[in-house]
């Protein structure tokens, strides 16, 4: 059975986590889509903190004998790894989109700057830039 102080501390920490995430959503600094995994993490940790027999049970499945609350850490760590991996995919997508925006913006600015020589829409942009006298 998880020692009572550990259980209380872990529950408090889980509640603080959930509270912080909800406040970040409320103040529009965190989008719901990226908060869901955090809320799930908080909920699972809260459940494990309060279900003091739970750590024993799961520790039994996992073969952890000496310190069952280690299960709390293991589960918490697993979720954090999951969240990090999720964010890595999000960052990848944002990087690609960012590159596209930068490129389109640069090309758009170039079009505007040379408005006195309007680009022919039929000519691929690449050829026009190479052949341009004014670089």
């Amino acid at each position: 059975m998880t020692p009572l102080p550990v259980s209380i501390a872990a529950a408090a920490a889980s509640l603080v986590l959930i509270g912080v995430v909800l406040e970040l959503i409320r103040s529009r600094r965190l989008r719901e889509r990226y908060a869901l995994l955090w809320l799930l993490t908080g909920a699972v940790l809260l459940t494990l903190s309060l279900w003091r027999d739970g750590t024993n049970t799961i520790a039994g499945w996992a073969g952890v004998k000496s310190y069952p609350p280690a299960v709390l850490f293991a589960v918490g760590l697993m979720f954090v790894l999951l969240v990090l991996l999720h964010y890595a995919t999000v960052i990848s997508r944002l990087s690609d989109q960012n590159a596209t925006l930068a490129q389109r913006l640069a090309l758009l600015e170039e079009e505007l700057r040379s408005a006195e020589e309007p680009l022919s829409r039929a000519v691929p942009l690449l050829e026009v830039h190479r052949g341009r006298a004014r670089g």
């Binding site: 409320r26 989008r31 719901e32 889509r33 869901l36 596209t100």
Partner: protein, 278 residues
């Protein structure tokens, strides 16, 4: 189509959810009032978010321009790869092409930004896949044009037709309708319908704050939290002409959880009337 066709048909078992505002106004005359008549010089923008709808977008644009020639049609091409933009332009619509796919929320918000920048008085969302019937535009826009509401939602469950979604979808729609009705303080029956119109206040609200995924329900809540008036009008929707719905089973779970979280947290933000931006 005579005025009889616009009156509410016999209420079905869902009539307990139908509010007074859901009854379509019977219109004098021989048919739906063209938007140009009731608009009094006000400009209306039809926002058509489109992702790979090359098969239907041409027909939808034609229908809107035929039914309501005074409405400006804007197709927001959400990174399509099938030539949707070119087809829409060929049928006379104004086209905005997003550099990559943003999803329905981002695409529709682009339309609202356009409406805001160009000073439109009314903006109406219409699906590019043919599910929304342009002949219903007159009835849909009536409450907004009359100044009775800031947003009108075309509801599939407000008495017209016998739209029967698959059981799970229906349950989800009813869950949202129930939740949003509690939050908004009036009965709403179809919070997920993308067939909706807003006036300038709604345009201003959505141009700057609009959810990126599954935005429809949150938009209704946002209107209410900004003390704007929402009304519903019963509409008939047609089956999707081509293509498949993009919502998967796992997507439905995410949809439900995400939207419920968003609207519950929205309750924690102060409810305040919009101040007109300078």
């Amino acid at each position: 189509m005579g005025p009889a066709a616009l009156k509410q048909s016999a209420p079905d078992a869902d009539s307990s959810l139908v509010s007074a505002s859901a009854v379509p106004r019977p219109l004098a005359g021989s048919g739906p009032v063209p938007v140009s008549e009731s608009a009094d010089g006000r400009r209306c923008l039809a926002i058509l978010p489109a992702y790979n709808e090359a098969g239907c977008v041409g027909r939808v644009v034609d229908e809107i321009r035929a039914f309501e020639p005074s409405v400006e049609v804007l197709v927001v091409d959400d990174g399509s790869t099938d030539g949707t933009a070119a087809i829409a332009a060929a049928h006379g619509a104004k086209v905005v092409r997003l550099p990559f796919n943003l999803g329905i929320g981002g695409a529709v918000q682009t339309g609202y930004r356009y409406a805001y920048a160009h000073g439109h008085d009314v903006a109406v969302q219409i699906d590019a896949d043919g599910q929304h019937d342009p002949s219903e535009l007159g009835a849909l826009l009536a409450p907004v044009l009359a100044g009775e509401a800031d947003m009108v939602v075309g509801s599939r469950f407000a008495g017209r037709g016998a739209y029967r979604a698959p059981f799970l979808r229906r349950a989800g729609i009813r869950l949202f309708a129930w939740t949003v009705s509690r939050i908004v303080g009036q009965s709403v029956t179809d919070t997920t319908s993308g067939f909706r119109a807003v006036n300038r206040r709604g345009i201003a609200l959505f141009a700057f704050e609009y959810a990126h995924d599954y935005p429809e329900v949150e938009a209704v809540v946002a209107m209410a939290r900004s003390r704007l008036r929402v009304a519903e009008v019963g509409v008939l929707m047609r089956d999707r002409a081509e293509g498949r719905s993009s919502i998967t089973a796992a997507g439905s779970v995410y949809y439900t959880v995400k939207v419920l979280l968003a609207i519950l947290v929205a309750l924690l933000r102060p409810s305040a009337a919009l101040t007109e931006a300078a």
